[in-house]
Every structure is written in structure tokens, then in C-alpha cells.
């Protein structure tokens, strides 16, 4: 290769490097204006997934958070402890359900956009990359729904789980229900991941305390999309209950196989119909869900004594009328993740109102001052010393289909 070509290559490399610097600069430009530069707006940085495996859950959560921000701004902003009202601004980026991209973007929100409040994307997989970065930069991470028990350690002072219980606590009500009903021949199938594995551990250990050993306790890969054989094998052992712990696609595939088998098992439990009923209704029809047990979440549970933010009825009507202005343009009935996103906003709002200043350590200290004292439409907000959510308990319940209408019966907890 001759000299001239070499020069060309070096020129291209140089141009490329310049493009790189310019490109990096543009990222922050693309995602909104720099938060720290304007003094009278509080920036809330978050990620969402418009595509990929978490999009179904991430988008409604993001819509809920945006809804909260619009509400607050319509009222003139958040009242800080110094009496001043400041508006909030959401700075968001799309991670496409990709953990690698999410790592880059969390870093971007912290180092480039210098957001005042950092909020995670849905679920543990997309939350995990943010945990060490936030800790390193001493930024409080408002973790919406990343319930992985590894996140919460005594050494990490910079995480708050806002809208769901830590996953070790989830299955408590389920286990108690099984014990109370004296259910025999329990079969558990769980997907191989953090979220479902922890719940399986909880159920099994709680049952063990009551002297019950599940007849079957089997894990399947999270990617499993066909449960026909597994359901068939369980059916042959005459189960009293089938507990399937998975993500939403697992639950759909499992219920499909269960329906098709034609066998009636007294208790059939899956997690997500209680959170995303619209999806399951479109797949199985309202009558098809009758009898299925799940963890009912708002809007199926209507939390009483709400002392902070809207109650369920108010939220439902306000959210419905704001739909067209929200990301992803949600349609149909509201679901739990809309509530979860809104609830995260409420926790942030109360944090900002109670904090002495906007410094991260003051924000974190503020959360402790109201932990256990506020009840939102998502339940009583209470965190432990590690930032994990211990309030907002999830009961169990089952669907009932009567006179052409699907409803939920919440079992006493």
C-alpha cells in the first residue's frame, strides 16, 4: 500500500475520531437539554425500552412516570422545603431492552445530563447496570421495579425500591394461602431467572416450615415457549395446585398449554395476569381467565386510606383523559405498570418536598423520614435500611367470570 493511501487512511481516522467526539456530544443533545444548566427545573433522568423483551412492561411504566410529571407541572411544580416551586423535566433515553445500551445511557444521564434524580427502567435485568454506577457516582437510584435481592446491601446507601416489594417477599402471601387451604400435591414450575427463582425459594422454604414439600419443583429456561409436555407430565400426577412462576411470555405459554390439556386443576397460579390483564384477556378471552389465580395489583386492588397523591378512581379517569399526551399512547384499561410509574413519581415528589436540599445524600435521607408514613394508590410505602421495599404487600386472588364480566376476588391476606 502506498504512501498516498496511508495518508487517506489517517485522514479518515482523524475525521472518524472527530465524528466520535461530535457524536458523543450529540447524544446528550438528542435526549434533552442539560439539566444542571437551568436552575429552576428539576431534571428526572430515566430509561425506557420501546422495543425488545421488556417493552411491554417498560412503556406503561414510563407513561405512568410521565403522567406524574405532567400533573406536577400543571400545578406549577414541586414545592421544595425552602418554599419555592420548581417544575420537573423528564430526560429519557431508549435502551431497547438491551443491558449494554442501558449501561451507556445510565452513565450518560449521570455524567453528561447531570440529572437531579435518577430513575431506572423496568425490571431487574435493566436495573442491574445502574446499581454500581449510581453507587460509584453517589447518586440515589430510584429503582421502580428491579426487585432483585442482590441489589440491596448494607454497603449501598444509594438505592430506593419504589413500586414493588423486594422479590423475596413477593411469594409470602402465595405460600400462606397454600398452607391455609391445606393444598396437597403442589407442583411448581419456575423460569430460570432471578425474579422467579427467588419467589420459588420463598414458597418452598415457607411451605417447608409448615411441613409441606411440593410434589414437583422444577425449573425451566426463561426462554421456554412451549409448556405442553411439562403440563402433560404434571397432570398425570394429579396435582392439587400448579404454580407457574415466569415472565409474561412464560405465563402466556403456560396457560395456553394448560387450557389445551383440558385437565382442571383446583388451583392454577401465574404471576402476570394480575399485572397485565388486558394482554391475557386478548389471548384467552375473559372467560378463559376464570379461575386463574394471580397476585392482583392495582387496579384490581383499590387501596383505601390513600394519604398521598391520587386514589385509584381519580388516577384512572385522569390517566385515561391524558392518554394521548403520554409516550407510547396507551389505550385500553390502565394496568399495574401505569400505576407503578406514577407511584415512583409520587415517591420522588415527596422526597423532593421533604429534602433539605437537592444534594443526593439529603434526597436519600429524606426518603427515610417518610418511609412507612405515606400510603399511595400502590399501598403503604415502607423501605428497610438497605432501601428495599417491604410495604406495598401483594395479596393473592383469582379471576371470576360472571354475566359476561371478568372480575377479581382478592383472597384475605
Amino acid at each position: 500500500m502506498d504512501m498516498k493511501n496511508k495518508v487517506l487512511v489517517s485522514v479518515v481516522s482523524a475525521v472518524g475520531l472527530a465524528a466520535l467526539v461530535a457524536g458523543c456530544g450529540t447524544v446528550s443533545g438528542a435526549s434533552g437539554s442539560n439539566g444542571s444548566s437551568s436552575s429552576n427545573v428539576i431534571t428526572i433522568g430515566t430509561l425506557y425500552a420501546s422495543t425488545g423483551s421488556y417493552a411491554t412492561s417498560s412503556m406503561p411504566e414510563y407513561a405512568g412516570l410521565t403522567f406524574w410529571a405532567n400533573q406536577v407541572n400543571a400545578q406549577g411544580g414541586v414545592t421544595l422545603s425552602n418554599g419555592k416551586k420548581e417544575k420537573v423535566k423528564i430526560v429519557s433515553m431508549d435502551d431497547q431492552s438491551n443491558a449494554t445500551t442501558a449501561t451507556t445511557e445510565y452513565n450518560q444521564l449521570i455524567t453528561q445530563d447531570k440529572v437531579n434524580v435518577l430513575v431506572t427502567d423496568f425490571g431487574s435485568v435493566l436495573t442491574a447496570p445502574a446499581v454500581p454506577i449510581a453507587q460509584e457516582h453517589k447518586v440515589v437510584l430510584f429503582d421502580q421495579s428491579g426487585t432483585g435481592s442482590n441489589f440491596f446491601t448494607p454497603t449501598n446507601k444509594y438505592i430506593v425500591l419504589t413500586s414493588l416489594q423486594e422479590s423475596t417477599l413477593w411469594a409470602d402471601s402465595l405460600a400462606q394461602d397454600l398452607i391455609k387451604n391445606n393444598t396437597k400435591n403442589i407442583a411448581i414450575v419456575y423460569a430460570d431467572n432471578d425474579f422467579d427463582g427467588t419467589q420459588n425459594n420463598t414458597v418452598v422454604s415457607q411451605l417447608a416450615k409448615a411441613g409441606i414439600k411440593p410434589m414437583i419443583d422444577e425449573s425451566v429456561p426463561t426462554s421456554t415457549s412451549n409448556y405442553t409436555t411439562i403440563v402433560h407430565n404434571i397432570d398425570q400426577k394429579n396435582p392439587g395446585a400448579i404454580i407457574e412462576l415466569g415472565y409474561q411470555p412464560n405465563d402466556t405459554a403456560f396457560l395456553q398449554a394448560y387450557k389445551a390439556s383440558g385437565v382442571k386443576v383446583p388451583i392454577v397460579f401465574t404471576i402476570f395476569p394480575g399485572q397485565l390483564p388486558a394482554i391475557f384477556e386478548s389471548q384467552f378471552g375473559a372467560s378463559g381467565l376464570a379461575g386463574v389465580s394471580t397476585y392482583p395489583t392495582p387496579p384490581f386492588i383499590n387501596v383505601q386510606n390513600v394519604n398521598y397523591g391520587m386514589n385509584l378512581t381519580q388516577f384512572e379517569s385522569a390517566f385515561k383523559s391524558a392518554e394521548s399526551s403520554l409516550p407510547g399512547h396507551p389505550t385500553g384499561p390502565i394496568n399495574f405498570l401505569d400505576v407503578a410509574g406514577y407511584n415512583t413519581g409520587l415517591i420522588i415528589q415527596h422526597t423532593l418536598e421533604s429534602a433539605k436540599s437537592l444534594s443526593q445524600s439529603n434526597l436519600r435521607a429524606a426518603v427515610d423520614t417518610f418511609s412507612g408514613k405515606i400510603t399511595t394508590l400502590d399501598g403503604n410505602f415502607q423501605i428497610n435500611s438497605e432501601g428495599a421495599q417491604v410495604g406495598e404487600a401483594l395479596p393473592t386472588g383469582h379471576f371470576v367470570y360472571q354475566n359476561g364480566k371478568l372480575s377479581m376476588v382478592v383472597d384475605a391476606n
Binding site: S50, P221, A260, F284, G288
Partner: protein, 280 residues
Amino acid sequence: MIGLFYALVGLGLNLIFGVMKVVNLAHGDFLMLGAFGAYVSYQLWHINPIVSVLIEFVVFALLGMLIYFGFVPRLVQSKDPEMLSLILFFGVSQVIEALATMAFGVNPVSFNVNMFGPSLELFHQAYPSYLFVPFVVSLVLLALMFFFIYKTKPGTAIRAIMGSRDEAAANGISIHRYSSLAFGIGIGLAAVAGVFAPFVVGGVDPTTGTDLTTISFAIIVIGSLGNPIGTIFGGLVYGISMMLMQTYLPSWASIAPYVLLILILLIRPSGILGRGVRHA
């Protein structure tokens, strides 16, 4: 029983590879499009998926022929068509996935499993209708395909091209006409198999295509690349091994097809029913 469906999944891919030595990495995406096609026509016009099978076969076969004339002649002339087609169709698959996401969103779709009526009782065993219908349709289509390939004139021409391109050309067979026909049929078969994917595989969303492609490859490699009968065999082996794994070792079931694929590649690179002609 599900094995025959998997045979249908692999057959289109194998036909295309056999005739053109083109690796259609977008195969699964055509399956996915087929599934969405059936879903949308059912939702909008209440067209029964069985009817969609016929419509989609024609539509996608025509689409396939268009794609053929757009890409393949140029590819086949290049130095390494097999490798280039692999990369090219990876690009095509990305395009399809992106367009499908824009058009259909990200939520998985699936049909109501009871739409074909209740289970059928045969020989004292209940067969759920949502599996029985794909089985029957697969059987009919596979039979038709074999009739076409082995008993008709165009089928004979296609087999001649599979055997040797140059000899076929020397005997006056129009390579492009029959190759494009085979390509169209291959894509059409993919779409038709896709119609039933929501029943057999579970929910289908725009990203499902990639997984379906890998499964299809496992099936046709197990059978033998470029051999249609091998594909049926591959589909059966895949279906049965999947069932056995889910029964005895469910947590390892998802890697079973890949292990099987690798083992067969290493032991008999030409597939179980392959003729063993391969260069080092």
C-alpha cells in the same frame, strides 16, 4: 405430531438452500410475518387461519420471487455466494424486524387456543384441536410439496438444478425461472408455517423471527442440507427430542436442539440422511 409442523418450518429454508446455495437467514422473519398476517386478517376481517394459509402462500410466494430477482442473481455470481448470502439475509432480517416493530408494535400476539373447537378424541387419547389442525395442514402441504417436487415437470427441473446447476443449464433448463419459483415456494412455505406458529410456539412478536431461524436451521441440518426428505426426518427428530427433554430434563430442554445440531454437524456434517458429498 408436532414434528411434522417443524418439518414444514424447515422445508422452505431447505428448498432455497438446496436450489441456490443461498442461506436465508431471514427465514424466521418470514414465519413471523406469516403469523402476523394471519393474526391481522383474523382480527380485521375474521378470516379463519386455515383460509389465510392459502392466501398467504400466494402472496408470499410472489414476494419471494420479487426478492429473488432483486438479490439472488447478483449473489450467485459472486466469489463466495454462501457466505455473502448469509450476511445479506441477516440484513434483510433486520429490515423486516424493524418494519414489523413499526407496524405491529412490541406486544406478542397469539390466537385463542379454542378457536378450532374442543379437543379431538382419537384412539382413547385427546388431541387438542389447536395442535391437530396444524398437524393436518402440515401433512397435506408436505404431501403436496412432495408430489410437486417428484412428480411434476417444474419439480423435476428444480431437482435437476439441485443436483447440478451447470448440467441443468446445459440441458436447457431455465435456471432463473425455476430458481425463482423455488425461492417463492420456499418463502411461501415459511409464511404458511408461520400461520400456525402462535399455536405451537406460543406468542409471536417481531423479534421471534431470530429464534425461529435458529430452530429451522437445527431441523434442516439434522435432516440434511438440501435434501427435502431429510427435513421431515429432522422435524420429527427435533419434535421428539424436545418432548423427551421437557419430560426428563426440562431445565436443559432449550439447549437440546443446539447440542443435537452441533453433534450431528461434527459426526456427520452432511446430516443424518445426507449423501456424504462434502469437500474438506
